[in-house]
Every structure is written in C-alpha cells, then in structure tokens.
C-alpha cells in the first residue's frame, strides 16, 4: 500500500515537473537586435511571422511553411538550454570601441525572456552562430 501511494506521488511529481519544463520550452518569439550609432537592425520571429526593423521602419511578413531556414532555426533552438543563453561568451568586443555594431539575442517563452550578453554583430557566440546566420538569411539581411 505504501509503495502504491509512493508510486502515485512519484508519478505526479514527474508529470508536473515535465509539464513545467514543456511550458518553459514553448517559445513565443526569437529576437535579434544589432545597433551602432549609424546602424539599427531588429529581427523578431514569432511562429511563422517575421518582423524586420531598421532605422526607416518595420516590415512584417509570413514565412512559407517548410522554409529550410525556419525549420533549421526551430530544430537548433530546441537543442539549446534556454537558461544558459545569458552565459554564452562573446568571442570579441569590437563594439566597445565602435568597430562593430553591438548585438543581443533573446528567446521569449510564456514564463521568461532569456537574453544573451551583448556581442559583436557579425561574430556571435558559437552556441547561437548558426541560428543567427539563419535568422539573417530569413530576414534577407546581408
């Protein structure tokens, strides 16, 4: 009997714990922002909608389902422990002296927003470099 109740408690814990993790991993938006004194770029990916902003304004469009860059971003994001995003190391800090634009990468879930430390546009942390490259391609930004 005790074993039976213990099993129920253990199962309940596992179920609620996994529900919490699933909820944490439900990504609402992915954002990339880069700026210098003369340059601004903001890319927000929400589902299959992408919004690209610069100093002139914003444009929003829908990405066709099955787009290879979109599929790649989704699969790569799923591999990342979102809590580790703030710990990703920038390979360089040329933006400190204005030799590069400064960039941020963030992932928004229902519960939280996980944002990286700033890094140089064009030289992101290795953990997210493929995702950012795909985002820039999706946004048709060189």
């Amino acid at each position: 009997m005790k074993l039976y109740f213990f099993s129920i408690i253990l199962t309940a814990f596992a179920v609620f714990n996994s529900c919490e993790q699933s909820q944490e991993q439900v990504i609402e938006a992915i954002n990339y922002e880069a700026s210098s004194r003369g340059f601004y770029l903001n890319i927000t990916l929400t589902g299959d909608r992408i919004m690209v902003g610069n100093r002139m304004g914003y444009e929003e469009s829908t990405i066709p389902e099955g787009d290879s860059q979109l599929d790649f971003i989704r699969s790569e994001i799923a591999k990342i422990d979102l809590k580790s995003i703030p710990d990703f190391k920038a390979p360089s800090h040329e933006s400190y002296r204005d030799a590069a634009a400064s960039a941020y990468f963030s992932v928004k879930t229902k519960e939280n927003t996980y944002e990286s430390e700033s890094f140089d546009h064009g030289n992101p942390p290795i953990e997210i470099a493929p995702i950012i490259e795909a985002l820039l391609k999706l946004a048709k930004v060189e």
């Binding site: 210098s36 601004y40 204005d98 400064s102």
Partner: protein, 140 residues
Amino acid sequence: MNIWVCNIGGGILGYAQFPGGPSNTDGIVVSPQYFGTTGYVSAPFDEGRTATHEVGHYLNLRHIWGDGRCKRDDFVSDTPSSDRPNYGCPGSAYHCRSNDQFMNYMDYTDDACMNMFSEGQKARMRAIFEPGGPRDAMYQ
C-alpha cells in the same frame, strides 16, 4: 594622436583604439561623411561629435550605458546607469531607475544633442597621462 579619415561602411561612423594597443593602429578612424562640419557631412552627424566620441574611447572612456544592461558599468561613478544607447535628440530618457545622461559625448545621440563629459570621465581621461598610465609618454 592619429586621425584617419576614410570610408568605413557597414553603418560604422567611426571607431577608435583603446589605450594599450599596437602603435601602428593607434588613433581614431572616422568616415568622411561624419567628420568635421563642412564637405561631405550631413545632419545629424555634421558637428564633429563623432570624432569627439571616438577621442573619448581613445582616452579610455567606455560607452555611457556600459555596453550592456543595467548592471554593466562604464567605470565612471558620476554617470548614471543605463541599459541602452540613446538616439536622436530625446527630451528625456529613463532606464535602470534613473535618467539617462543622453547629452553625454559617450552616448549615441545626434551631434547637436551632445555637449558634455562628466567630471568623472574627465578624471578617467586625465589618468592615462599620469606617470605609469598607458599614454604617459604622450605627456612627456
């Protein structure tokens, strides 16, 4: 101090080398469209403040927002904390529970809206010329 005026591109108006770097690249670089007050320049970067900003870096100043969010510092005690650069000519800007000093030369506002270094920034710049400082040879 070397000042190179040449096209840079990529949205970069100018850049600098902090103290302690190689001598053959030591100085500031400014694109001609943002250098001086006549010639190729146009508003809002037509009052020479890009060079002022870059000389600030050359003299060891960081961006006033600390190149990060609220906890990141510019290593100057009398500049307020901020989590971002300011652009244009804001009437006010409030981040990290304080008013931004957007008129500071080390922010990203337009040339016409920059007009100061703080006393702490001046002290930080002067310190590099002190005996043993990274640019004390320039002062000798």
